[in-house]
């Protein structure tokens, strides 16, 4: 069977990223298995939980990015949420007593960052609004819960976080007006 070649030579364009991922997969997997084993053998605090969460976070953010909606807003929100989860885990499993103060402040920082990213290019970023909206909703819920549960311990970080979230939501509605509703219709459609 004689084949006439009618396609360009693509040898030079083979995927370097795919090769890199293939190589990196193994040390990541090894670390994922080794950390809990070493932790159990050595004993002490459950640091391996933080290590495993960190590995998962790096893999998800750096090596296996989102296939849909990979943009600066979604990645920033994702990184902030991961950071908050990591901080909570560190507080629970390693050194306790500071997360109630730090996590809302980090989340507040995240809200400010997402606001800057959104309002600096509102026309384009309105298409990427959903992750920011999630962060706002999570922040509002967390602030209400925080103020209700820990009202005698620390209240100002929760107040600041909740206030910023509500302000961001209002600013977003004012900036987008009718488009805000249209964006919500798209994002929550069930058709």
């Amino acid at each position: 069977m004689k084949i006439k070649i009618i396609y360009p030579d693509t040898a030079k364009h083979s995927s370097g990223r795919r090769k890199l991922l293939k190589i990196l997969k193994w040390p990541f997997l090894a670390a994922l298995i080794a950390c809990p084993i070493v932790n159990v053998c050595v004993g002490g605090k459950a640091w391996s939980i933080i290590a495993v969460a960190g590995i998962a976070m790096v893999w998800s953010l750096v090596f296996a990015p989102d296939l849909v909606e990979y943009n600066r807003l979604s990645q920033s929100v994702k990184a902030i949420l991961y950071a908050c989860i990591m901080l909570i885990l560190i507080d629970v499993f390693l050194v306790s007593g500071w997360a109630l103060l730090v996590v809302p402040i980090v989340c507040l920082g995240g809200l400010i960052l997402s606001s800057v990213l959104f309002f600096s290019d509102c026309r384009k970023q309105k298409q990427n609004m959903l992750p920011m909206l999630f962060l706002v909703i999570i922040a509002v819920i967390a602030a209400i819960a925080g103020l209700f549960i820990w009202k005698d311990e620390v209240s100002w970080p929760f107040l600041a976080m909740g206030g910023a979230a509500v302000a961001q939501l209002i600013a977003c509605i004012i900036a987008l007006r009718g488009e805000f509703i249209r964006e919500l219709q798209k994002r929550f459609h069930i058709k």
């Binding site: 069977m1 004689k2 084949i3 006439k4 070649i5 009618i6 396609y7 360009p8 030579d9 693509t10 040898a11 364009h13 083979s14 995927s15 795919r18 991922l21 296996a64 990015p65 989102d66 296939l67 849909v68 909606e69 990979y70 943009n71 384009k124 970023q125 298409q127 990427n128 959903l130 249209r182 798209k186 994002r187 929550f188 459609h189 069930i190 058709k191």
Partner: protein, 496 residues
């Protein structure tokens, strides 16, 4: 000192009248294209390149500007993007099941008689895309389902440098779910299945090629078989027809028992090789008639025999998936997905030679591709989609990947998608050599076959996912033994 670019140099040679003509053309351009600056500059450059091409080929400026008439842009680039489209029922699975390096992509190509002029193809694409608003979109995540969000931008026609049917990056803001490419005499369009099926894809390719040929200077008198790109898109053309048709109450199961896979180790790089078997349609039709069946049934029989030769398995069933165009049963103009599929299945021990299996294949095809059978599948699809409506995407995604990864395409040995006969206006057909259709959707299947007929050439395209050449070699041998003239074209083996 500012260095003049080629277009500036070109302008220096023009007369005052011509300069005025050009100036009014570009001021009209500014009214038609209200995109972000970067995009606008690129589009302006596209038109400048096209004008330069015309000038270099001795075409007068007036003629060039009349071919590039900006009314062909319509208001598409001047209005903000506000429309959006929920995915049709068949498309919903594609974004859920895609992974890094794996995506359901298919390609359609037209082979012209002369080398493609990239400058004019780019303009043809800019003119054509407005007629297909559901293609001028970007894939987005909703809370429950993905959807297509309108994206007004310059869609680029690029030189082909990749293996056919490679995943399309749909992750960035505004990134399209299709790509237009050219290589020598070939114009190709690759689609992520989320946008359209073969029929919709072919409608687009035909419009693109017709518009490209018009820009070259070839006009057709009767354009009834190609959409007029300057007509307004109609709602019915972007409709999710799955939701509109009357379905039977009875449904059918998607799951089927595992089929025998062709032999050979799966390559990491998919497809590993693409082959086109170019056949004479009249000979193929005569061969099918000799066997008392349709061309699809005849080709399926050939594939069963070649498939048996390409595996070491001695027991089990071979099954070939055959997509069915639902527009046959429910007339529709939609360019969204509106296809179902059926599986033609045979025990491997019953596969002997073409003449002895062709009757069974034909009977199965008639029965399984019948209105009633595929309508049951339509009902199943709708029920499945409805049952998942209120499940958030964040839960659907990992579940779908797990199920799809587990089941994959194991219930089929291979696929044969026959696009049928493609018609183009007579004047344009004279400038088109042939067409092909490549399926790049396989996971575990070692081969996927697409077939399309243009004029007297039927092209059977095989996308191979294994180095083992026995399937295509046997297929070639069978075609020759049947007395058909076969020309084989294709790619080198891609690096794994």
């Amino acid at each position: 000192m500012k260095v003049k670019n080629t277009f500036e140099e070109y302008k220096d040679q023009l007369s005052a009248d011509e300069l005025e003509l050009l100036s009014s053309f570009f001021s009209e351009f500014d009214a038609h294209v209200i995109l972000p600056k970067k995009e606008r500059v690129r589009m302006r450059k596209d038109f400048q390149n096209a004008i330069l091409y015309y000038s270099n080929t001795g075409i007068a400026l007036q003629t060039a500007l009349s071919r590039l008439d900006l009314k062909n842009l319509g208001g598409f680039y001047a209005r903000p993007a506000i429309s959006w489209y929920p995915l049709d029922d068949a498309a919903k699975i594609y974004p859920l099941s895609m992974e890094h390096g794996r995506m359901s992509v298919f390609r359609m190509s037209a082979y012209l008689k002369a080398a493609v002029v990239p400058e004019l193809l780019q303009i043809a694409l800019s003119f054509t895309i407005k007629r297909f608003p559901s293609f001028a979109t970007t894939l987005k995540k909703g809370f429950f389902w993905h959807y297509l969000d309108a994206s007004k931008r310059r869609y680029a026609a690029e030189m082909e440098i990749l293996t056919p049917c490679q995943p399309i990056s749909v992750s960035q803001s505004g990134s399209p779910a299709f790509r237009v490419m050219y290589f020598e005499k070939r114009i190709s369009v690759e689609f992520f299945h989320v946008l359209t099926d073969g029929t919709g894809g072919m409608t687009f390719l035909k419009c693109l090629v017709a518009e490209y040929l018009r820009l070259i200077g070839i006009e057709a008198e009767d354009k009834s078989c190609v959409w007029d790109i300057n007509q307004s898109p109609h709602t019915s053309e972007v409709a999710n027809e799955f939701a509109n048709v009357k379905r039977p109450k009875a449904s059918t199961s998607f799951a089927d028992k595992e089929a025998v896979q062709l032999g050979g180790k799966l390559t990491r790089h998919k497809p590993h090789r693409v082959l086109h078997f170019k056949l004479r349609s009249d000979e193929l039709k005569a061969a099918a008639q000799r066997n008392g069946c349709t061309i699809t049934a005849y080709m399926l029989a050939l594939m069963f025999v070649a498939g048996k030769f390409a595996t070491d398995e001695l027991s089990g069933d071979m099954s070939i998936q055959v997509p069915i165009n639902m527009r046959k049963f429910y007339p529709s103009k939609t360019v969204r997905n509106f296809s179902m599929y059926c599986g033609v299945r045979m025990p491997i021990c019953d596969i002997t030679d073409i003449s002895s299996i062709v009757k069974t294949v034909s009977e199965q095809l008639t029965e399984k591709a019948a209105h009633e059978s595929v309508s049951k599948m339509l009902t199943s699809t709708e029920r499945l989609v409805n049952s998942l409506v209120w499940v958030p995407l964040v839960i659907k995604l990992p579940a779908a990947r797990l199920i799809y990864g587990f089941m994959g395409d194991n219930s089929f040995t291979t696929t044969l998608s026959n696009m049928g006969i493609v018609e183009m206006p007579k004047e344009l057909s004279e400038h088109i050599e042939s067409m092909d259709f490549i399926l790049g959707t396989a996971i575990n299947n070692r081969a996927g076959c697409g077939m399309v007929t243009f004029k007297n050439t039927t092209t059977l395209s095989v996308a191979k996912n294994t180095v083992d050449p026995s399937f295509e070699e046997k297929l070639y041998e069978l075609l020759c033994a049947e007395g058909l003239s076969v020309e084989v074209e294709g790619s080198e083996r891609y690096e794994d």
